[in-house]
Amino acid sequence: MQHYSMNLKLKVWRQKNSHDQGHFENYDVKDISSEMSFLEMIDVLNERLIKEGHDSIAFDHDCREGICGMCSMVINGQPHGPWKGTTTCQLHMRAFKDGDVITIEPFRANAYPVIKDLMVSRSAFDRIIQAGGYVSVNTGNAVDGNAIPIEKDKADDAFAAAACIGCGACVAACKNASAMLFVSAKVSHLALLPQGEPERKQRVVSMIAQMDKEGFGSCTNTYACEAECPKEISVMNIARLNREYLQSSLSGS
């Protein structure tokens, strides 16, 4: 792999707090190595800003390996940037070339108020889980792990849905700011497993109700969510959610 160095122009969203209007700020960054991660590039800029007496750019991140769901950012119009199936923290600078202009904004949605700069609040997702995204089993109540065999295909599908990292890119990608992909991933994960069966009907209804209450938009099947999802959660899950929802409403529970 050939490494190279580049100079870039960044347009970064700066916003002091949730009351502030916010604006774009331009920064030139120099000698960025193609081996760096995108966030390391911002680290370099932040070190410079601090030295120059400015406030650093606030952004969310923690694991930096694509699993915690903490990092966000819309990069050149795309949540998590240009690489498919990749979080912002896994994006590397070899995705860019010398002289590129990069626009960096927070995830935008009514349900995601900006806290500062590129950081938003996604606590609505926790409340959607509270509405029913679980199996009601107390500690110590479980039967042997092998007591209920689960077909491998089903277990694999449940796992694929459960791989959602709750990052919210699906919401940021959607022109309606719908949270359907996120909700459908959780509904699918649990609906596919026998353990999720007893609460299946109630779960989907309650979670959808909470989603609406949080101010997320409705799904009009444009599938921008799937295209930007870093974990490539399939829109098939939305179809499954719709079936689940319909069945639950028909059976009147």
């Binding site: 995204g133 199996v135 039967v143």
Partner: protein
């Protein structure tokens, strides 16, 4: 006096007997008892959910924006349990024995046995929550093997086991939030512990969004705040992982045990440059199928694929024929360092070895051909089928490698090197997980127990969940049963006022320094000192020097750090400054502990103490104890908990 409060009776009856005799709190009283849980990783989430279900009033805290994002989410390879589903001779005793031996005989027998006992309940609990573990075609749970063992007892969900387990615990936690038993405080950081009449009674937490300091009362406080691997700056831990909560407790009287026992994981992606902010683990499960090698010739610069079989040195298989690539982590890490130091390293930095999947791809490919009855097929069909199998098992890890390095690990061997990964040391706790401060408990990686001087793979997840689901629900009741008459203490109490003032004074001091150097630059320098002198190999000379360097760094930090932004509002640099300040103090204690322990054991390798063939040389006569350090302001006093081995006979660990 350090009393580990190990119950009497035979080893395998202790926990049962303890549970049978433990004091209980009745449901009406539980509703009046408040419990503070700091941390929502596997240990904290499972404890919060379980205690909430039992009826306690729980307040849980984490610094991330959601409890689901705790560092446990990143665990990859799996979780151990003595289920013996594979019928390969596993048992509670064997898991216990492997853990004690893997820990190089520096762990407490009673705790480890309890861990092995409850391990089976953990799997049942997780399955019931809907954790989608890997399964066989027959629908039953699948297992893989991990380093340091000869049975298959590791349960997994692709390379995302921690994620799936944490989501299970997180969902159980959120269910309790919905039921009103748990109140969740995300984006909150504990910055001080409140002690009243010798008992932990609350915390001061900084609301990271508004910058406000908040006072929270609890009848008991549980620290589930994870490990301190980030003292090294570069580690596989999440960026925010820190020692602050444990350190605040330590400064107020909680002993810190075995701080020098840190784990360097053998298979991580090597450092690529100065800009590097963290290191990425390649799960140990990869050592199951991958073969580790370096060129047999020093300084061989040919690409890996051009080096013929007979010119490769599979040094783990050569040195440890019985365990081969599956030796414990400390052994594998040192062996890699030995080869690189001797000039056999690969890649541009020469600080790397190969982890090769070519043989595994062929093996799996051939197995598929016979499974599917394909008869005679072309070699590239075998390769393609083999890649498919490898992709199913390890796909996300291979993807991660490709994203970071830009290389395709299905085609060329991965380059790996050891990196800081886990900390066995932590707050000293007794059998009940209570620290030396009454009412203050430590769970998960934050405590020192169970893993001795080296942790076996897939056993941290097991320990975190054991502590939270199955241990603390009993042991906490034993303490709180005597506290049912204690009314909630008002947070206007002078102890709260004083603790808040201490926290705010410190923040004001940090902000007022207005020096010239960034927090990050101090952290990097600290990391380098600790990695060079208290890392994979240590010696007395280096450690003494490191202590001086860390002390000097501390003085420089407190006079020249520059923190931008404001106190009243979101300020990540200020949060980081508080954490780094604590890491600096911890760094000194780590070196002191390493210097004091004149032996090699597990992850603690003192160059002066090794066998002729370079293995760790323990000194059981003089060092078979837990080193528990008491903070005395500017110095520390050592207390020893002598370890008694009633069942296992310590011997030199051999994986040959």
């Amino acid at each position: 006096m350090l009393d580990s409060k190990i119950p009497g009776g035979t080893l395998d009856s202790k926990w049962t007997k303890y549970k049978g005799n433990v004091k209980l709190v009745n449901p009406a009283n539980k509703r009046k008892l408040e419990v503070i849980i700091v941390g929502t990783g596997l240990a904290g989430s499972s404890a919060a959910a379980s205690l909430g279900e039992m009826g306690y009033k729980v307040k849980a805290f984490c610094f991330q924006d959601s409890p689901r994002r705790a560092h446990s989410i990143a665990a990859q390879g799996g979780i151990n349990a003595a289920k013996n589903y594979q019928n390969d001779g596993d048992s509670v005793y064997r898991l216990f024995y492997d853990t004690i031996k893997g820990g190089d005989y520096r762990a407490r027998e009673a705790n480890v046995h309890r861990l092995a006992e409850v391990s089976t309940n953990i799997i049942d609990q997780c399955v019931a929550q809907g954790v989608p573990f890997a399964r066989e075609y027959g629908g039953l749970l699948s297992n893989r093997s991990f380093g340091g063992t000869q049975v298959q007892r590791t349960f997994y969900a692709a390379g995302q086991t921690g994620q799936q387990l944490l989501i299970g615990a997180y969902q159980a936690l959120e269910r309790q939030v919905a039921l009103g038993t748990v109140t969740m405080y995300s984006r909150h950081e504990m910055v001080e512990l409140v002690i009243i009449d010798g008992k932990a009674r609350g915390i001061i937490a900084r609301n990271l969004v508004t910058g406000e300091l908040e006072r929270h009362f609890g009848h008991a406080v549980l620290l589930c705040t994870g490990g301190y691997g980030n003292v090294f700056y570069l580690s596989t831990n999440a960026m925010g992982s820190n020692v602050t909560a444990a350190w605040k407790a330590h400064k107020q009287g909680a002993y810190f045990a075995n701080p020098c026992f840190t784990q360097i994981h053998p298979t991580c992606i090597p450092v690529s440059g100065d800009h590097q902010s963290k290191l990425t683990l390649m799960s140990e499960s990869l050592r199951n199928d991958g073969r580790i090698w370096v060129p047999a010739k020093q300084g061989d610069n040919r690409p890996a694929n051009e080096i013929p079989e007979e010119e490769r040195d599979y040094y783990l298989e050569r040195r440890y024929p019985a365990f081969g690539n599956l030796v414990p982590r400390d052994v594998a890490s040192r062996a890699a360092k030995e080869r690189c130091d001797a000039g056999y390293g690969v890649g541009s930095s020469k600080q790397a070895v190969y982890l090769d999947y070519a043989a595994a791809i062929q093996r799996y490919g051939k197995a598929e051909v016979s499974k599917r009855n394909l008869g005679n097929v072309a070699p590239d069909v075998i390769t393609a089928l083999g890649k498919e199998v490898v992709k199913e098992k390890y796909g996300n890890l291979f993807d991660m490698y490709a994203k970071i390095t830009g290389e395709n690990p299905y085609e060329v061997p991965m380059r790996i090197y050891p990196a800081v990964h886990y900390t066995m040391g932590g707050l000293w706790v007794d059998y009940e997980l209570k620290t030396t401060i009454d009412g203050l408990y430590a769970l998960g990686e934050a405590n020192f127990s169970e893993h001795g001087a080296n942790r076996l793979g897939a056993s941290a997840l097991m320990q975190g969940l054991a502590d939270g689901y199955f241990v603390i629900p009993y042991t906490l009741g034993n303490y709180l049963a005597d506290d049912i008459r204690t009314q909630s203490i008002s947070t206007d109490h002078e102890a709260f006022v004083a603790a808040e003032k201490k926290a705010s004074d410190r923040i004001n001091t940090l902000m007022s320094i207005k020096g010239n150097q960034t927090v990050e630059s101090f952290h990097k320098r600290l990391g380098k000192i600790i990695w060079d002198k208290c890392g994979m190999a240590r010696n007395a000379e280096g450690l003494k020097q490191a202590i001086k360097e860390v002390q000097a760094l501390k003085a420089e930090f407190w006079s020249d750090v520059r923190i931008p932004g404001e106190i009243n509002g979101m300020n990540p640099e200020l949060d980081k400054a508080g954490r780094v300040a604590d890491f600096i103090e911890l760094g000194e204690l780590m070196c002191l502990d390493a210097l004091e322990r004149n032996e090699s054991c597990g992850g603690h390798f003192r160059e002066e103490f090794q066998t002729p063939d370079g293995e760790a040389l323990r000194d059981d006569e003089n060092y078979m104890y837990v080193a528990a350090w008491e903070n005395k302001g500017n110095s520390w006093e050592l207390h020893k908990e002598i370890l008694n081995y009633e069942i296992v006979k310590p011997s030199q660990r051999s994986y040959k």
